[in-house]
Amino acid sequence: MIQTENLHKHYGAVHALDGLNMTVETGTVFGFLGPNGSGKTTTLRILTGLARPTSGRASVAGLDLASDGRSLSRRIGFLPEEPAFYPWMTPREFLDYLGRLHGLSPLERSARTKELLELVNLVEAGKRRIGGFSKGMRQRLGMAAALVHRPEVLLLDEPVSALDPVGRKEVLELIETLGGQCTVLMSSHILADVERVCSVVGIIAKGRMIVQSPREALMERYAQPVFEAEAADKPSARRWADTLRVQPWAAAVSVTGDVLRVTVKDIALARRELLASAVAQQVVLRRYEETRPSLEDVFMQLVDKEAAQ
């Protein structure tokens, strides 16, 4: 379990964390979302013992960081956003070194190294120097390094940000399988990834947790109906968006190229008026659908609301 109580972290005049309260239950995969600079990495650095809070309390795996921080490293696994290694080592040597530090026997180290290299798809590169690795390979090795000692709590800072689509899929599947075996706190700005693997979601903005809830409950509570339409050309899409923004039933209208995404407050009214509005504006439509709101819609809605306050 991970818990923070009224956690503050100040860097001079900058309040990176401003009273963060968070609870991550044992065995959950917790998606930690927030815009850039919202305090995600600072939180993770405090939870790993690399940084100290200005005030407030934090505990990880039942250990209070202020008093039991020394034994923390045996209970947690941490993957930083840009994992760093000794370039002269090979992945096998690095994982073996970590295994030694965690007190694994030679047999256990050998088996665990082999298992982890297979898990993160680095068997062929196992004997190459890490210095020549790509960013994606480093991230996968970082994942293996965080898992060497089978930690109770896994803290992942943007774990798939440097991976290609195939690598991303594999690592996300791995994180998904870890749920239940250990507690995972995963920060990410890729909302689709969080939506895919996380059972609980926390959204942080300006150093404060603005919402924390099981993913489905969050979607039910905050998700507003969304319509998506693809116009024949960009100018007409933009013209139509301008007329929709002033409608009382429209909560938010975004345009990406010639695609409009309209979040609505009153779905019945929207169903009646949206197409009529397109006809009135003489917009030719290629596609029109009522879609399932995504986590991104909820995130944007909550973060925008927080920013407006």
């Binding site: 045996r74 994992p83 760093a84 000794y86 970590l98 530090l101």
Partner: protein, 253 residues
Amino acid sequence: MTFLIVLRKELTEHWRTKRFLIVAAVMTVFGLTSPLLAKFTPELLKTIPNVPAAVAALIPTPSVADAVAQYVKNMGQFGVLLALLMTMGVVAQEKERGTAAMMLTHPVSRLTFLLAKFMALGIMFAVSLAIAAVGCWYYTTLLFTALPLGPYLALNGLILVVFLVYISVTLLCSTLARTQGAAAGLAFAALIVIAGIGSLPRIGDYFPGRLFSWGASLALGGTETAWPAFGISLGIIAAALIVAFLVFRRQEV
């Protein structure tokens, strides 16, 4: 146990990154060439054409004391410079690169992290100095007379203590600094301060540089001592390591 694991990694790093080779090679070259230079420099000067007889008469006959003086001078300059160059990045670079953060989330205490680095550097310099000392002793014996082993070992022990002073002070600078460049600046400033104060009359008798002349005197059968300088050198080593630990313990990496 963890200390030995980290120490082994540090020593392997010095070996694989060729630092060990560089330090051993440079020190061995200066160890070997010190008696050679002492022996042949005066003879080379005498072979210069048209050297006036009066000047030639002033060129002293080389002796074992010249060989020892040359050895001490070379180690005092190049050995100390190597100590600075090899140490200044060890902590700052790991903080800058992110490996310190990576390792400190595993069971490596901050004390172990620092002490293993100091110990590995100490071992690297001790082994390199031993090789250089053997080379110097061999050529000194060949070209002059055999130096008595006990006092010669004491000379090298004192040289090692001076190296450890500069290693520990540079390690402190590397801990204080956020980047390698800043660590280098701090370390060179520290070198200038220690060497500068050490060159002052009377005060210099209490500084690490005094150990070189004590060691040279011992090797040549002299009886002078410099125990205060020895004690202060050990004090500087201990103080630098303690301060480095206290700083690093509170530092966010």
